[in-house]
Symmetry: C2
Subunit: 439 residues, 2 copies
């Protein structure tokens, strides 16, 4: 572990930069046909047999047997008991994080989640009614990547949006429950929770069973089986994004202590071998200092092996000609997490077009945002920040257009609509408009 | 055509209503494996060979041969010539519709598409930056269902949202161009347009070719090949919803002239045989009047055969016990278009939870909304209004979280984040937070 890290360094001004950059960006989740077929079969079985199928798959895949689905439901008392059993600092941290996440999403709801309408001078009303989803399902991974923070980040925006019922599913392999996950469910106000996972849990939420209520939308991360199942039930229910490996991109102007930046790169790399950490900086000396910090700090990290594999496999230190060029390159990557580790973050922020979350200034480590700053940590990955957004209250609402045409308005609109409808060969549309005209 | 229509009538108070209602609601697009495989092959080919592949498929499927993709681009001059060539009433109608659609979407942008931020007392800034997509693609069907109104409804919200470039694709089988579609593209301010369609056009937009610029999101309706291709490129680019057959549900209190309601049901049924038209009403006498109007008016409709097939196959007149029950049943269906044809539409509107667009009062025929009232006519179908929304400016924007933690804020947040990160076994996250603490 003490040998120096083989972390690639690119120079944006060199002739072969473009080719190396393309290789760095390349990541694609190849479809695994074996997984696809197994997931299709599991979903069909859950749709057909409901609880019985979910119980069988839970016994087979999670080594957890039960006589009935009801026995796999976590009661409110059990969630509370988990909350009472964790340490007081853990309780305080969960509650403080939940309060900040709630407060941020309340602002979000106020800013972009309200109904609105206006009237034309002829009395015609136009608007949009915004309403919460009735019932949503939250998938929480179990096993090695059991993250209580994800429970907060999925359940709280749904709660703030006004969702009537929040159903959590979390696999508990061999019955092992994660107390922090259960405590987080208690703090976040999850309505009901079941210890099931995998494609069978997604199927239960999408189709409903005798015991598990069918939901309108499923959010939350999961393994390849869960991702495949979510894709397949999309349409029947809504889903959030399908997440790829996590990424951090740091734009540094050289004013942040190099150890801080090195640790921020680690904090992404430690997630898994496919995670990606990139530094963009116009200062070659500073890049060398960060590299030195990486080599010095890596051996002190409990997850050093994962960090090393991630940094060597997908990480990069990139020397740019300027901070402006660093911003351009960042826009091409459209990173999930973007740190602007600069003394002048507000000078560069307007140049940044595509990113899931933008962390401004040296004190804003990504990890503060991951847990408790308030904004959501469920963010678009793999360049999808070009067209998609953090999970938010808007994901737990939907909109309905409102149209009330006045008698006077119908005289004007009817003529326009009829002209266009006849042009499209839709006479029923035209005549429905014409019937409202006074001749 | 003169024989009376076999339109089913249900009674919500009868014992077998639930079973009949379930049959009525049932619609599912079965996956067609042959289409899936052909689309996968076309997309792979377009990804690998670009323009050459698009040209070959266009020649083969659309009977349109060209030496180069550049020859398949519609110039701005050609769009303007089409606009100049249509009739003056058509020009006026297109421009009036475009102005109203633009005005509505400007309100939408102002109501829900603005960046926002706030500061904590310790100086920490939290917010969300809203930015337009760089470049989007709009798929416009050609052939029998060529709808200029769809060009307006897709391009204008993108334009209002601030999208930099709007690329339209529209198949022109055997080179036949629809003048109204081209004129609508001119009015809506499409940036570039190509006469290609099918899965090959979706592939060209998703991957980019030497001639067709790659986009960030693809919207617009299409046939089964287009829908399959959009599903497959989702992730590489964003997509809008995958639309099912169109639907109208009318809740009537018996005060609207029956002919108006009959024509509104026709205006949905005339789209295609799978379209669905449903009337909910607590007044049996009124239902009989609407049925009489349907029988009387149907023979006068140019598209009578399609209307008959649609109404007999999927239509229904449903007698309810009350207007409240009609609203409940409507919520279970979550219709694409919902007319509240009542003298008191604002009494019932608050009871309506799930619908793509709600048309209030007797004068508000769905067709006015389809063309020119202002709100979008691209709406969620097949019950997906439970969790999704009309196409809007929000579909052409994305959000980035903004976080700037102050030095003082980092002291508080760092302790919380470190506690939770250690609880999740992510020491890098914890130490990145701790490095910002003053000891």
């Amino acid at each position: 572990m003490s040998s120096s890290l083989n972390l690639r360094q690119l120079d944006a001004s060199s002739a072969d930069f473009e080719a190396e950059f393309q290789r760095l960006r390349h990541w694609s989740a190849e479809e695994d046909h074996a997984i696809e077929e197994r997931v299709a079969a599991i979903l069909a079985d859950v749709k057909a047999r409901g609880d019985a199928a979910v119980l069988e798959y839970t016994a087979r895949f999670d080594g957890l047997s039960a006589d009935s689905m009801a026995a796999l439901e976590l009661t409110r008392e059990e969630l509370k008991a988990a909350f009472d059993a964790i340490t007081p600092p853990q309780r305080s941290a969960l509650e403080a994080a939940a309060a900040r996440v709630r407060s941020y999403h309340e602002r979000q709801l106020a800013a972009s989640g309200q109904s609105w309408s206006y009237r034309d001078t002829d009395g015609t009303l136009l608007g949009q009614k915004v309403t919460p989803l009735d019932r949503v399902g939250i998938y929480v991974p179990g096993g090695k990547a059991a993250y209580p923070s994800s429970v907060l980040m999925n359940a709280i925006p749904a709660h703030v949006a006004g969702v009537g019922e929040i159903i959590m599913v979390v696999p508990t392999p061999r019955g092992e429950k994660n107390a922090l996950v259960l405590a987080a469910a208690y703090v976040a106000g999850v309505s009901r929770a079941f210890t099931v996972g995998g494609a069978q849990a997604v199927g239960a939420l999408a189709y409903g069973t005798a015991t598990v209520p069918g939901v309108d939308k499923i959010t939350g991360p999961g393994n390849a089986y869960v991702a495949s199942a979510k894709r397949r039930v999309f349409g029947q229910v809504g889903i959030d994004m399908i997440a790829g490996p996590s990424e951090i991109l740091v734009i540094a102007d050289g004013t942040t202590p190099p150890d801080w930046v090195a640790m921020d790169l680690f904090s992404q790399a430690e997630h898994d071998e496919l995670a990606q950490s990139i530094l963009l900086c116009p200062d070659a000396r500073y890049i060398a200092q960060v590299r030195e910090a990486i080599d010095r700090l890596l051996p002190t990290m409990p997850r050093a092996a994962v960090i090393r594999a991630s940094l060597e496999g997908r990480g990069a230190l990139i020397l740019t000609r300027s901070m402006e060029e660093a911003c351009d390159i960042s826009n091409r990557i459209a990173p999930e997490h973007l740190e602007v580790s600069s003394a002048e973050p507000h000078r560069w922020e307007p140049l940044l077009k595509h990113a899931g979350a933008i962390f401004l200034g040296a004190y804003t480590s990504e990890s503060l945002g991951d847990y408790c700053a308030g904004p959501n940590h469920v963010l678009p990955t793999s360049g999808t920040a070009r067209f998609s957004s953090p999970l938010g209250t808007y994901d737990f609402q939907k909109r309905s257009s409102l149209i009330e045409v006045s008698e006077a308005g119908a005289q004007v609109l009817g003529v326009i609509a009829a002209e266009l409808a006849y042009g499209e060969g839709l006479q029923g549309h035209a005549r429905a408009a014409e019937l409202r005209l006074k001749r």
